[in-house]
């Protein structure tokens, strides 16, 4: 029987996938209906894939609405798929997938995340079987070492090294922890992996736990990801039933108990020692390192923490060998990386590419460049710990080292693309607003330093910047970077430093000329009425809150710049485009 499979990740559901599913279910006749996770082409959601009885993908239908359901159902039943050709994905959009290399996302959007058999049918749990039969823990670590896999959460620390340290750390009781507290605004690959392929995370964790010698493990998931928690819970239950989790896994001596702990909303808990504090039920405040978690982690026992995407690569590496993974990428960065492409991009979504492609390849080659015919200005990478990379550096290769050299970081993989209408000072302010709110308050440089930086940025965007503000910002940046206790504080100045480095002219225009070149800062906008376009409809004068617009009916109006409070009400209300904003 033919089968229609609907993409039901959070994004798909938000775009209406569940309504499409229900509508199709109501007219189901002569075909099966199923769900899958996120294929990563978020801009085309809701998406439905039509498979034939042999499981071959025949058609991918996009941007569906419940109203399309009867037509789609009839087409699938009769086999006349050409009748829904208008709903089919365009070739140029379909190309996005062929330009990717999918390892961490290998099952995403293809298998049913709520069905363990769907995972095992596609080589699922083969790697743990192989490991338990053929490998010693040391050999597993050796394979991971050969692969060159590094932490995908942001820091890029070699995974094998952490595993090895935890393995060698004395003590019987050890813990493996998965950091799924994906807090970087603009990154959602961890959510997508858990929602779309939860068993690959479980399998990666099984292999990791075997390697370090842990019999208990946690997944620390953001509470903001209810669907991910739901699917992971089901996956754990199913894996326990099939003896992939629990005591004496697959008849071996190896046992693992896996539990989910829901985070409660604190960005700093992405820092590993803060995460451990939170796991223990306390405020998530980072600890001093050393001792590192490998020596003293959860309840002071040796612990190892890796990110979701890191674990999602592990089973593939075991199945295909470390060399196959290391064959991709650059000298210093091996394998692939998943990026969340968002912002002013034409084709936003999740993309996984081998390291070594350039930023331009990803943003323009895969993402299709900027929306609405606007001009590219910058790409923000690494969230609040990262920075803004300008157009002149678009040919930078994606590699931990090369990206760090720009002042940004690889980070967890958020790529927020900005166009000419994005103000870079405001962008820096946005991130500092975030870090001041998320600073845990334990150390002074971060708690007070970020606040003072925010205040300076705030006054600059309001046209109250002082001549020495740039210099002050730079001093503060250095102080916070050097003085903060943990990664949050140490990297908090990066958004300011990179915008100062690449977009200093925008700061200078705000401070010196009281002008926002991007036209985003409301307090710095100037409005005037184009006399030729104004029909004298009086709408703006009537709407205007402070009586700064003068003019009589059918006569061109005028704004008194002295009285204007720059609220933009006239601009919003004008039906003739006669109000000019500059």
């Amino acid at each position: 029987m033919m089968k229609i499979v609907i993409g039901e990740g959070s994004c798909g559901i938000a775009a209406g996938a569940e309504k499409v599913y229900k509508a199709l279910d109501a007219v189901r006749d002569g075909f099966e209906l199923g769900i899958t996770g996120c294929i990563g082409m978020c801009f085309l959601e809701p998406i439905a894939d039509v498979y034939n009885e042999k499981g071959l993908l025949l058609k991918r239908l996009v941007r569906l609405t419940p109203e399309d359901a009867p037509r789609v159902a009839a087409a699938v039943k009769s086999g006349d798929l050409d009748s829904v050709k208008d709903l089919e994905i365009k070739d140029e959009d379909a190309e996005i997938l062929s330009k990717q290399t999918r390892i961490a996302l290998r099952h995403c959007g293809l298998i049913d995340p709520e069905d363990i058999d769907s995972y095992t049918a596609d080589d699922g749990y083969k790697a743990i079987e192989k490991v338990l039969k053929e490998y010693t823990p040391e050999q597993v670590i050796e394979v991971i070492k050969t692969s060159g896999l590094a932490g995908r959460g942001g820091a890029g620390f070699p995974t094998w090294f952490k595993w090895d340290a935890a393995r060698k750390s004395p003590g019987e009781e050890k813990y493996l922890i998965c950091n799924a507290d994906e807090g970087d605004p603009g990154a959602f690959m961890d959510r997508a992996v858990i929602e779309s392929d939860p068993h690959s995370l479980i399998e990666g964790m099984l292999i990791g736990a075997y390697a370090i010698g842990a019999s208990r493990a946690f997944v620390y998931v953001r509470a903001e990801y209810p669907l991910a928690i739901l699917r992971l819970k089901k996956a754990i239950r199913d894996a326990e039933e099939k003896h992939y989790l629990g005591k004496n896994i697959l008849g071996s001596d190896f046992s693992l108990e896996l539990r989910i702990k829901a985070g409660a909303g604190a960005f700093v808990c992405g820092e590993e020692t803060a995460l451990i504090e939170s796991l223990e039920g306390s405020r998530g405040m980072p600890r001093l390192k050393p001792p590192f978690p490998a020596q003293k982690g959860y309840i002071n026992k040796p612990s190892n923490i890796n990110n979701v995407e890191t674990f999602a690569n592990v089973a593939w590496i075991i199945n295909h060998g470390g060399e196959a993974f290391a064959a991709m990428g650059t000298e210093t960065s091996k394998g692939t990386k998943v990026f969340a492409l968002t912002g002013k991009i034409r084709r936003g979504g999740l993309v996984e590419i081998p390291m070594g492609l350039t930023l331009r390849d990803v943003i323009f080659g895969i993402g299709g460049g900027i929306r609405d015919g606007k001009k590219f200005k910058a790409v923000q990478m690494g969230g609040p710990s990262g920075g803004c990379i300008p157009e002149s550096l678009l040919d930078t290769v994606i590699d931990y080292k090369a990206l760090s050299a720009t002042g940004a970081i690889m980070g967890s993989g958020g790529m927020v693309v900005m166009d000419e209408n994005t103000c870079m000072v405001n962008m820096a302010k946005f991130f500092l607003d975030f870090t001041t709110k998320e600073s845990c308050g334990k150390c002074v440089p971060c708690r007070i330093g970020t606040k003072r930086m925010y205040e300076i940025l705030d006054r600059i965007t309001k046209g109250e910047g002082k001549p020495d503000d740039i210099e002050k910002l730079e001093t503060l940046c250095t102080g916070v970077k050097d003085g903060a206790l943990c990664g949050l504080g140490q990297t908090a100045p990066n958004p300011v430093l990179t915008t100062l480095k690449y977009f200093r002219d925008e700061y200078e225009a705000h401070i010196g000329e009281k002008r926002c070149p991007a036209g985003e800062c409301a307090e710095l906008r100037r409005y005037r009425i184009d006399k030729d376009a104004c029909r004298g409809c009086t709408l703006c004068a009537r709407k205007y809150p402070v009586g700064a617009i003068a003019g009589s009916v059918k006569q061109p109006h005028e704004i008194d710049p002295e009285k204007c409070i720059r609220c933009g009400a006239c601009y919003d209300v004008c039906r003739f485009g006669a109000v000019v904003r500059e």
């Binding site: 829901a262 409660a264 306390s282 002013k344």
Partner: protein, 162 residues
């Protein structure tokens, strides 16, 4: 302690489940909030009494994490995303529209107890930005007008809707 209208049997039941587990404070508070809709003072004292954790420490944890609230929220909790992608795509304008429509600011609840507004860092639906969630429903690709229309829909349903 005054018990007001808080049914402490529930929290006592939860505490029995976590007997002997000294690291479960966050989970206990999460389940308490799920049940009561917020963390009532009485429940905090009960956790303190049974677990032997000082109330100050419990309150310290509760105020550290954004998920916890010490006051009840409206029937419809609006979580307005102000993550990077939403910011770039105009989240400030959406917030302004919501505030105008409901006459509340971030962290406030309407007088009729119907709506609460809370801005959040990232909902992870960046490709549909700007985004807001009302209870469990996510709304993407918002414009100020669209956001207002959605809210009017909820208003029309009033207190009856699920």
């Amino acid at each position: 302690m005054k018990e007001n209208n808080i049914d402490l049997a529930f929290i006592r039941g939860i505490l029995r489940e976590y007997e002997g587990d000294d690291h479960a404070l966050i989970e206990i508070l999460q389940r308490a909030q799920e049940h009561y809709g917020y963390l009532p003072e009485e429940a905090i004292y009960e956790v303190s009494r049974i677990k032997g954790i000082p109330p100050a420490k419990i309150l310290g944890v509760a105020t550290f994490y954004t998920q916890f609230r010490l006051r009840p929220v409206g029937k419809y909790l609006i979580m307005l995303c102000k993550g990077t992608a939403c910011h770039v795509n105009g989240a400030d304008g959406i917030e302004k529209a919501v505030s105008e429509e409901l006459n509340i600011k971030d962290g406030e609840t309407t007088e009729d107890g119907l709506f609460s507004l809370k801005t959040v860092a990232c909902l992870g639906c960046c490709s549909l930005s700007p985004v807001m969630m009302i209870n469990d429903e996510t709304y993407g690709s918002l414009t100020p007008e669209k956001a207002k229309e959605i809210l009017r829909g909820y208003k029309a349903r009033g207190g009856d809707a699920e």
